[in-house]
């Protein structure tokens, strides 16, 4: 049951954003997109840490806000230096996102194969019993 709570949060957030019809000026579009990317990165990092049993509340929450702020600051600096520095953030977050998702996938796969093995080992026992 609690598994669906985060998903509900996501749906609620999206609908809240769509219903409020909030728009930010085009100039700040870059910042928001990079902030979204940073948030996603932290989120998947959190999921991975949770699956690896190394999840820490403080690291997760502080990382979430700090990454967003850092990404936005980097984009801001880039605009003022005339260098597309936000690309660096996009690259870094993108790479980490892929790595995190890959790790999550592996962990889930390992869990799944574990369960299969258990099932397979259990079945013959039952056969033997019958």
């Amino acid at each position: 049951m609690t598994m669906w709570l985060p998903l509900l949060g996501l749906v609620l957030g999206i609908s809240l954003g769509l219903v409020s019809d909030l728009q930010i000026p085009q100039v700040y579009g870059n910042y928001l997109s990079i902030a979204v990317l940073a948030a996603l990165d932290t989120l998947f990092g959190g999921i991975r840490a949770h699956l690896q049993q190394v999840y820490d509340d403080k690291v997760f929450v502080s990382g979430f806000f700090f990454n967003i702020a850092l990404a936005a600051a980097l984009a801001f600096l880039g605009v003022h230096l005339g260098v597309d520095l936000y690309l660096a953030a996009v690259f870094a977050f993108g790479v980490r996102l892929f790595q995190n998702i890959a790790v999550i996938r592996r962990i889930l796969l390992a869990k799944w194969t574990d369960r299969e093995k258990k099932l397979n080992t259990n079945v013959p026992e039952r056969k033997d019993l019958s």
Partner: protein, 239 residues
């Protein structure tokens, strides 16, 4: 412990979802279709270019004035100022002007004379319309029945008689003089007025508009009344 983790994830996901939705909203600005064809765009471009060139010539003129002020030493400053005052007076229509132009005569139409319709004065609306038609042309100097028409002039009905600058206009026939910057401008104005529908408007009021051929030298006297200065104030010295 697990419960708090879920709550935190929920909260973070809520923020992520909200940010994504806002980003989506921002990017989903309805596209305004540009339905102008190439000629409409060209027309717009040409009008912009015209205003550009007008602004440039204005800047050049002002630069010239600044240069005059700078090049003159203190003794001649008075002279430079009086030149500027003269120029401003000319712009305001207080100086006599001589230049190429046309004479337009407003007369009662032949039919109204034949039928014995009483001749009434020209209506302020019709006269204003005529002046507006003329104002399509830049740099013209206008005189209506001996009254200099400036930017501050008024055309209005005073006790049933049409007046310009507060002075009555005679019942037709009367003449109007229009001076243009050059003779070719006068010709353009002549052609424009000859083809304009403003003549029909005059005819509806039982008048005809006699547009004279452009002549090389026409004189219009300046506006002799004093200006009432309501808005400009002299700055005290030393400020």
């Amino acid at each position: 412990m697990r419960k708090t983790i879920h709550w935190r994830f929920t909260l973070i996901l809520l923020i992520v979802g909200f940010m994504t939705a806002v980003q989506y909203n921002t990017l989903k600005v309805p596209e305004i279709r540009d339905t102008r064809d190439i000629w409409a765009i060209r027309k717009e471009l040409s009008s912009e270019k015209q205003s550009h060139s007008e602004l440039l010539s204005e800047i050049r003129e002002l630069d010239k004035t600044i240069h005059t002020y700078e090049s003159l030493n203190n003794e001649n400053a008075g002279q430079a100022l009086s030149t500027t005052v003269d120029k401003l007076n000319r712009q305001a229509g207080r100086m006599d002007t001589i230049g190429p132009g046309i004479i337009v005569e407003v007369r009662p139409s032949a039919e109204s004379v034949a039928f014995g319709i009483p001749i009434t004065g020209i209506s302020p609306d019709l006269l204003t319309r005529f002046v507006n038609e003329l104002n399509r042309f830049k740099g013209i100097v206008l005189e209506i029945d001996g009254k200099r028409y400036t930017t501050l002039s008024s055309i209005r009905d005073i006790n049933g008689v049409t007046a310009v600058n507060g002075i009555n206009i005679a019942t037709p026939p009367f003449t109007m003089k229009i001076i243009s910057p050059t003779l070719s401008d006068s010709e353009k104005l002549y052609n424009f007025l000859s083809a304009s529908t403003i003549q029909d408007d005059f005819y509806l009021d039982n008048f005809t508009l006699d547009i004279g051929k452009p002549i090389q030298e026409l004189k219009i006297s300046g506006w002799t009344e004093k200006f009432k200065n309501e808005f400009l104030k002299e700055i005290p010295k030393g400020e």
